[in-house]
């Protein structure tokens, strides 16, 4: 199979992700896929879930915190400004407290809490996690391409979804039981109906948000998850381990793309010894990749003479991935 066939045969897979270790080419392939799909006439959004996003670099344009920015016809890119979102959200919470209790000032203890929660390391990630729900929920695009963080984080992101789902069930259970007590007490006292437990409603809302995110990640019909691998011993080993783990989380693996393959044409030329050596190693590891991920390698992308930035370079990568212009 080729990349093009994977996309042609699965038009419902609208959520596209590239996983892989740091620096292998996830952002590059995300941008190239977005470019290729946009050229095919689809409306595409590529967005970054990485607080250290690099879409601005690859598109040579500052898009940070500006919402979806049109890069070319049909192609939009977005980098989430988590800090901004957190600040606005803190203000919303403060306002809600003032409204609910008719306060003019937030009690010091509560204010301290609001600030300390925002300073937690997981705050940024969970704020982005939440924004993604809005992004993919908008339904404005034919394709949503996630520019993912390196593997460790992506796994954390995945496990977070399944852990929190269970937790919310437990907490909701506790809350439901509390409501039962109040109900019974009110009936016995012949009170009006219990006011609905707002917290229970919020918990269900949160559960819904988390389910949307994790649901997409594991939806075989709607999601394609590709791994980026390079012809190096350690990378192959780590990728194998990671893909086994991802499979445990039911992530629908669509295939592997090999990046940074030194073009074979070079070998005929007069090249330095170290490169000859590297190419021999590469031949071994390319063979290994074909064995370890048998039948699932969708494309080999050559090592280019320079970094991939700007649309003309992105186009070259896209042509390598999808096999030239259609």
């Amino acid at each position: 199979m080729s990349m093009r066939e994977v996309f042609d045969q699965n038009p419902n897979r609208r959520y596209i992700m590239y996983g892989g270790k740091g620096g292998l080419g996830k952002t590059t392939f995300s941008a190239a896929t977005a470019y290729w799909l946009a050229k095919q006439g689809f409306k595409v959004l590529v967005f970054s879930v990485d607080p250290q996003a690099s879409l601005s670099d690859i598109f040579k344009r500052d898009i940070f915190g500006k919402g979806p920015v049109e890069i070319m016809p049909n192609l939009f890119a977005q980098e989430i400004d988590a800090d901004q979102r957190i600040r606005e959200y803190q203000d919303e919470i403060r306002q809600k407290i003032r409204d609910m209790y008719g306060m003019t000032e937030i009690p010091e203890e509560i204010e301290n809490y609001i600030q300390s929660v925002a300073a937690e390391p997981a705050m940024e990630e969970s704020a982005i996690f939440d924004e993604v729900v809005d992004i993919v929920g908008s339904n404005e695009y034919d394709y949503y391409i996630y520019d993912l963080v390196p593997l460790g984080h992506a796994l954390y992101y995945l496990s977070m979804a399944s852990v929190y789902d269970q937790w919310i069930d437990k907490i909701t259970g506790l809350r439901t039981e509390m409501e039962e007590y109040s109900k019974v007490a009110n009936v016995m006292q012949r009170d009006k109906e219990t006011e609905e437990d707002q917290i229970l409603k919020e918990l269900q809302f949160i559960k819904h948000r988390i389910n949307v995110s994790s649901g997409i990640l594991t939806d075989k019909l709607k999601t394609a998850f590709f791994f980026v691998v390079t012809p190096e011993e350690m990378i192959i080993l780590d990728t194998k381990k990671a893909s086994d783990l991802f499979a445990k989380f039911d992530v629908p693996l669509a295939g592997y793309i090999v990046n940074r393959v030194i073009p074979a044409e070079l070998s005929g030329e007069n090249i330095p010894a170290y490169l000859v050596n590297r190419m021999e190693m590469q031949t071994t590891y390319l063979k290994e990749i074909d064995e370890v991920f048998a039948g699932q390698v969708l494309a080999r992308v050559p090592e280019f003479e320079r970094d991939i930035t700007g649309l003309p370079m992105i186009e070259r990568v896209a042509n390598e991935m999808f096999g030239g212009k259609k």
Binding site: I93, I114, I171, Y181, I199
Partner: protein, 100 residues
């Protein structure tokens, strides 16, 4: 007293209240029952706040982004919660239900 409750311990603790309540119903006046119900509920309320907002469980319970969302609803309880934490007896009561 070790406050690192596990998920199942917490739910079992909550279940413990249900059983305790069942035992209590026979031979009590309506007034006593209602008071009992409110008491049980406020126990659970404390437990809930401890789980969601107090960092006693050892793992982050909710993504912090969502914890903040629940904060407005527990504002009136935050003071009481701090006090009951200090009184510690309350907390050991809660935990002793199932853990010991």
């Amino acid at each position: 007293m070790n406050f690192k409750l596990t998920v199942s311990q917490i739910t079992r603790t909550a279940g413990g209240f249900t059983r305790a309540f069942g035992d209590m119903v026979y031979g009590a006046s309506v007034y006593e029952i209602v008071r009992g119900l409110h008491k049980e509920r406020s126990h659970l309320e404390h437990l809930f706040i401890l789980i969601v907002f107090g960092d006693i469980v050892g793992i982050p319970v909710l993504p912090p982004y969502y914890t903040l969302r629940l904060l407005p609803y527990v504002v009136p309880n935050i003071n009481g919660w701090k006090r009951s934490l200090l009184r510690e007896r309350d907390l050991t009561d809660l935990c002793d239900q199932e853990i010991t």
